[in-house]
């Protein structure tokens, strides 16, 4: 059994209205039926565009948001049904690293206080000296100087702050760390440092990660298994290499084609899929396949009426698309003209020709 198993997790936020008595006038379906499992010692990467519910899903695992329905099985315990106080003690084993390194650190606490607070809450390390010893140990592990203890968050650089955030999670010796966009607020050079640090820590401490990100390169680098989210549900899940080698869902294809290739020859000639329109509102998701309003391969049958389930198409590669096999085989034509096959050279020629006319 996997260390962390999510089964049909739903997080719906009620939309309330009313002057004195709140009436629920609708729901925002932030997460709408996500099932996934994370194996011990592995990294599960969750990607998707802004607003697709990936952060909410990450927070629901820690019960930082209320889970409407479904179960979160962690090491044989269903966290979704745990009483509040028991959940609090369980949080020691599930930790989180936040996106905004400065915002997630209390500006009025020094580093020692930030790092020891979690230990105090869970009764780890008896005396102050023992705790300090442990904090020094962890600080060395994440590559921060020991004299950081008495300093305050604003005195550190972005990368260092994120290391503090990681150290805060590590002092509790968790089994699982949920990284919510751990590097998206950092410079590219620092991103690599932090990603490498996360990988080193995983190796030496046997950690399990659930990494939430929108940067495909970051996720590819760190993940064993990747899940692609769209509007509150998973559309594709596959081992990292398989997903990048052959994306099966139209949405994943579009995402992948948005990543530039570091070779101008290939970059100029490759086909890019441009999605039209915005992400539909999660308060009023489209019927049928959630993606059919923007899908270049959308068909008249099924797509608008029936929601596709996540089906295994071999080798642990799961896709939620009615026509995944047909698209892969090339037997289904694109219906929308949102694909830009034009190479840049052709476009440049056209621009030159126009004034001559």
């Amino acid at each position: 059994m996997s260390l962390l198993e999510l089964d049909d997790v739903k997080v719906h936020f009620p939309v309330k209205k009313g002057l004195i008595f709140d009436r629920t006038v609708g729901h925002v379906y932030a997460v709408d039926g996500v099932s996934l499992s994370v194996e011990e010692g592995q990294t599960y990467g969750l990607v998707g565009e802004s607003g697709c519910g990936k952060t909410t899903l990450g927070r629901s695992v820690l019960r930082l948001v209320d889970i409407t329905d479904g179960s979160v099985n962690f090491d044989g315990t269903d966290l979704a049904k745990l009483p509040a106080e028991e959940m609090r003690t369980f949080r020691r084993r599930l930790q989180m690293v936040f996106q905004d390194p400065l915002g997630s650190l209390n500006p009025r606490q020094n580093i020692e206080s930030i790092l020891s607070e979690g230990m105090a809450a869970h009764g780890i390390g008896g005396t102050r000296e023992e705790r300090r010893e442990k904090i020094r140990d962890i600080l060395a592990k994440v590559g921060l100087p020991a004299n950081a203890l008495a300093r305050y968050p604003h005195e550190f650089s972005g990368g260092q702050r994120q290391r503090i955030g990681i150290a805060r999670a590590l002092v509790l010796e968790p089994d699982v760390i949920i990284c919510d966009e751990p590097v998206s607020a950092l410079d590219v050079s620092i991103q690599a440092q932090v990603i490498n640090l996360l990988e080193e820590l995983q190796e030496s401490l046997g950690l399990t990660y659930l990494v939430i990100a929108h940067d495909l390169a970051v996720v590819r680098h760190i993940s064993d298994v990747i899940g692609v989210m769209y509007l509150g549900s998973l559309v594709e899940e596959a081992p990292s290499d398989a997903l990048y080698a052959e994306p099966r869902h139209p949405y994943t294809k579009a995402l992948m084609s948005a990543v530039p290739v570091p070779d101008p020859e290939v970059e100029d000639r490759r086909e890019r899929i441009l999605l039209t329109g915005d992400l539909p509102s999660p308060a009023n998701p489209p019927a049928g396949c959630r993606f059919h309003t923007r899908c270049p391969w959308a068909q008249d049958t099924l797509c608008a009426t029936e929601r596709p389930a996540l089906k295994d198409v071999g080798g642990g590669h799961k896709v939620a698309c009615h026509f995944a096999a047909e698209i892969a085989a090339g037997t289904v034509e694109r219906t929308a003209a949102s694909v830009v096959p034009a190479t840049r050279e052709e476009m440049a020629d056209r621009v030159v020709e126009t004034p001559a006319e």
């Binding site: 927070r59 820690l62 930082l64 609090r88 003690t89 369980f90 949080r91 020691r92 930790q95 989180m96 936040f98 996106q99 905004d100 915002g103 997630s104 650190l105 209390n106 500006p107 009025r108 606490q109 020094n110 607070e117 979690g118 809450a121 869970h122 004299n147 203890l149 008495a150 300093r151 305050y152 604003h154 005195e155 955030g165 805060r168 509790l172």
Partner: protein, 317 residues
């Protein structure tokens, strides 16, 4: 030779470490910025002088506050005594030395400002923090409680502050304590709203979420995470309302609800009130206490403004 350079290097290393390991907390940094601000300096000097007067006033005053010069001031004939060598600020309508009365009154005035602000601050902060804690971490029930408490506070806010103070004073009777309580009560909703609002903002921040995810108990989150970060606007408001408290006390005295024993315990607000009856014939009688109130209020306001600037993290250099 080489041992000497080694020693120097070691020393440099040590001092450098000492510098960097001290760590400057936000409060300490704010204090540093406060010291550099001219506005704060001026405000602090005014308040210091005011404090000094309040402490030593009764001893340095040339005459007793109740002492009268008979046969020199005739109110019905509009004959007043202005500034002269004997009485620096002149005599008031009952022939008493204004300068002495103002020196003695400094203490009363300060006491009034501080005590009434403290009442407003402590009760308001208590209500505000309770409400804020309920709203941020109390779940659905907590939000309901917060909503009820805040509606009560809104009712208090909706009443004109002077009317509220007058009704409190009317219920409690005429005394100095009444004035303090009345003005304190008026300040309660301001402090409560301010603290609750700041707590709501902090309650939604990432570090509170982080503290939650660490498994820290809710009570502790409120005390160690939310509260310290919500206090700065309240502290600033306290310095600002010290000034308004003095002026409001003058207004209450003006309406005849202030200090009943004004002969022995003069107070600037009361002096101003009494002077306004003779504003045509002896305008200077009103000018002295009015100036004193204005300067003191300015001192507190300047310091408050400077504190707000110093504590604002966005202005951190």
């Amino acid at each position: 030779m080489s041992t000497k350079t080694d020693k120097i290097d070691r020393l440099a290393e040590l001092t450098a470490q000492q510098e960097s390991s001290s760590g400057a907390s936000l409060w300490r940094e704010a204090l540093k910025r406060l010291r550099a601000s001219k506005m704060a300096l001026v405000g602090a000097w005014i308040i210091a002088v005011f404090l000094l007067l309040a402490i030593i006033g009764p001893w340095v005053a040339p005459y007793a506050p109740g002492q009268q010069w008979r046969g020199e001031v005739f109110v019905n004939r509009a004959e007043f005594v202005g500034a002269r060598a004997e009485n620096w600020f002149g005599l008031d309508h009952l022939g008493r030395d204004i300068f002495s009365r103002m020196l003695v009154g400094a203490r009363q005035t300060l006491l009034l400002g501080v005590v009434s602000t403290l009442i407003g601050l402590s009760v308001g902060a208590l209500i505000g923090s309770f409400s804020g804690a309920c709203a941020t971490l109390g779940g659905r029930v907590g939000q309901r409680i917060d909503s009820v408490v805040m509606r009560c506070i809104d009712i208090m806010l909706a009443l004109p502050s002077l009317l509220l103070a007058v009704s409190v004073a009317a219920v409690l009777g005429q005394s100095m304590t009444t004035v303090m309580i009345a003005i304190g009560v008026v300040q309660i909703p301001v402090f409560a709203r301010l603290l609750r609002g700041a707590m709501l903002v902090q309650g939604g921040s990432d570090y509170v979420l982080a503290a939650h995810s660490l498994g820290i108990r809710k009570r502790r989150i409120v005390l160690t995470q939310i509260m310290p970060n919500s206090l700065s606007p309240v502290i600033v408001q306290a310095t600002l309302s010290l000034a308004t408290a003095i002026i409001e006390a003058a207004a209450l005295s003006f309406l005849g609800l202030g200090n009943p024993d004004s002969a022995k315990n003069p107070e600037w607000g009361v002096m101003l009130t009494q002077a306004q009856n003779y504003a045509d014939s002896a305008p200077m009688m009103a000018v002295y206490p009015a100036l004193a109130i204005i300067i003191t209020a300015l001192g507190f306001t300047l310091l408050g403004e400077a504190m707000r600037e110093a504590l604002d993290p966005k202005l951190r250099g």
